[in-house]
Symmetry: C2
Subunit: 363 residues, 2 copies
DNA sequence: TCGGTTATTGTGACCGGTCACATGGCGCTT
DNA sequence: AAGCGCCATGTGACCGGTCACAATAACCGA
């Protein structure tokens, strides 16, 4: 195939060591039109005659042409690239949301960049935003913690972005595109469920809160108050199983604790471990309910009753909103908003004093 | 600050609606040098006088200049961008490796792109590689499954890349940069450990294998053979807890099964759940050992004995190798290779018939 | 058959960097 | 003091697309 004089080689061919890529000029030559016409075709301009378009399309297919992202970005064309700014991707929520975003970007032919914002320090946030904005692409910020929130506020207003948040900020203050799952209501449902089992009250192990108004904690509190029941002090948790373990050790010491709602499933497994070590059986002595429904939750011992949150769907929705903001997607094509849903398994049951009346199921 | 006549505004300022970015020409004007000198400074060219360099550096800082990645890529400069091609990021291994790569790229000031290769079909693989190669950046392929392997082979030889694999391919066949953890030896260690507890043999639940030579399975088999012990047929597992559950149900039916090595921790938790439902206690009746040491493994009931694999470190190492391949990093700065390590917890113990002599610890 | 729209296509300049090469200044040798 | 080479810097062209605008072709009614 080398040295074939029949067809003219791409403009500069292998003269340099860079892999010879085919450009719109090559396509134009092959199709017998101008490079601008090729540009119009690849951008779906309506003002190209159907026959001409087909000619160009054939040339594109024949030469295996692919538009160069860098050139397009440089010339100010449609970007087709998204960068995700997120905190620790080891956590289930951000990881699953990222997975959903990836699927959506891939389906739409967008490139995806990722940048983790480790700390919430102004310097770190500033650096992250500056670097992410660089290729003139769009931004998605996953903001479940303080660092994410700080990042959100550091994004210049002229950069197209969408945010995945726990609860939407004041719309008057920040007219942005947001996406979230109503976990306040979900927390109420979970709390009510435990109450309905006969527990006197429900304790709460929190994910890290940066404001007084964590929706999960708020939902839990609201449910207790509406039931006219004592509201225990929430136990400060974290994101990881280890902090759940610590919180569980503390709760296990209190014989009045019969039901615990956990801010996420990692916390829940830590609490369950602590209970096991303290000799308190789950769910016979203590009921545990988690949050998120991680893939492992159904296989814990006992299987975890938890609140399912479809972060993957949330990520896909967020991307859909972003491209409709960019004017490249249609509003009517946006997927529906995911809903939180209580998944009843076996880690919660009636409290010990009610066991006689409502014996626990044997799995 | 608007309309200040003191300093000349950036070349085109806000004449168009795009965010006015400062270019090397702006910097050059401010520093009183040519744009090429600015280019030299930002690329650490040695042939710039120290005083001139400082002049330019000051101008850069003053104007807040940041090189435009797209322009640099287009002009064939150093790219400073890496794209990761990986299979499902929901799995612990790829996810943790990706996390390590992200940390390393961030520290090095590289941009990071991600592309998931869903299936291993030639079309999918081809598309993934073509898109990923597009910005002329470097590539990292995480190849723990068939799709990843297919991707590996589809990367053109002139694209700089490094691969994270389970076991290195024949170096003669593919002179590439590889990085891996010796899990064959680790599987032998885990198997030997179970044997040393007194088990007659050890069963194996496999992660999906695309060749006969999965290192984990090979290590398991080698250990059994060296001990002169019966080698049971491996049970076909998968990546997810659910397939571990199915495999566990099958194994639980066989009273001879007293020890099970699982290809990963997700499988292990599925097996444990199946055993629990079948009324076989872990570790009293059956011992379970996992692979990977996911963050939750220590908190399972019982805590899982497993083989720790530091995928995060592996990802960082891979990136270090990649940039030294690119000529931008130093070989002596590469981090050490991570080693697999058996973490003994409580999911494995002596078989039932030996319980009298070696009673199980009560946690 | 002609002028005036309108649909379609082509031309030139530009985005912000890099490369190759040309040029200026300096110290050194002879 | 002229000639040389090296260091430091500047100039022009180019990467592969896009934009604005000009130019041509096709079509219409009068």
């Amino acid at each position: 195939m080398a040295g074939d004089p029949g067809g003219p080689p791409p403009s500069r061919g292998a003269s340099r060591d860079r892999p010879a890529s085919v450009s719109i000029r090559d396509v134009a030559r092959a199709a017998g039109v101008s490079y601008q016409t090729v540009s119009r075709v690849i951008n779906d301009s309506p003002s190209v005659k159907a026959s001409t378009r087909q000619l160009v399309l054939d040339a594109i297919a024949g030469l295996g042409f692919r538009p160069n992202r860098a050139a397009r970005a440089l010339a100010g064309g449609p970007v087709q690239a998204v960068t995700v700014l997120t905190s620790n991707t080891r956590l289930y929520g951000p990881a699953a949301a990222l997975e959903g975003i990836e699927e959506a970007t891939r389906a739409a032919g967008f490139a995806l960049g990722v940048r983790v914002v480790e700390s919430g320090t102004p310097a770190d946030v500033k650096d992250a935003v500056e670097r992410a904005v660089d290729p003139a692409g769009a931004l998605i910020v996953i903001a479940y913690d303080r660092a994410g929130l700080a990042t959100l506020n550091a994004v210049p207003p002229d950069v197209p972005m969408a945010g995945i948040v726990e609860t939407p900020p004041d719309p008057a203050q920040a007219p942005r595109t947001w996406v979230w799952i109503d976990d306040r209501t979900a927390a109420m449902d979970a709390t009510n469920y435990l109450l309905s089992l006969g527990h006197q009250t429900v304790h709460y192990v929190s994910i890290p809160t940066w404001m007084e108004t964590s929706p999960r904690a708020a939902g839990w509190r609201a449910a207790l108050e509406r039931a006219g029941v004592r509201v225990p002090k929430p136990v400060e948790g974290g994101w990881e199983p280890r902090s759940g373990y610590r919180a569980g050790l503390q709760l296990a010491r209190d014989p009045d604790v019969t039901a615990v709602l956990c801010g996420n499933d990692e916390l829940a497994i830590g609490v369950m471990r602590a209970m096991a070590e303290a000799g308190r059986a789950v769910p016979e002595d203590v009921s545990i309910v988690g949050f998120d429904d991680t893939p492992q939750a159904a296989f814990y011992t006992p299987p975890l009753t938890t609140v399912r949150q479809d972060f993957n769907a949330l990520g896909r929705l967020c991307f859909a909103k972003l491209i409709s903001l960019l004017g490249q997607g249609r509003q009517d094509q946006e997927p529906p908003w995911p809903q939180a849903e209580l998944v009843v398994r076996q880690s919660a049951g009636p409290p010990p004093e009610r066991r006689r009346r409502y014996p626990p199921r044997r799995p």
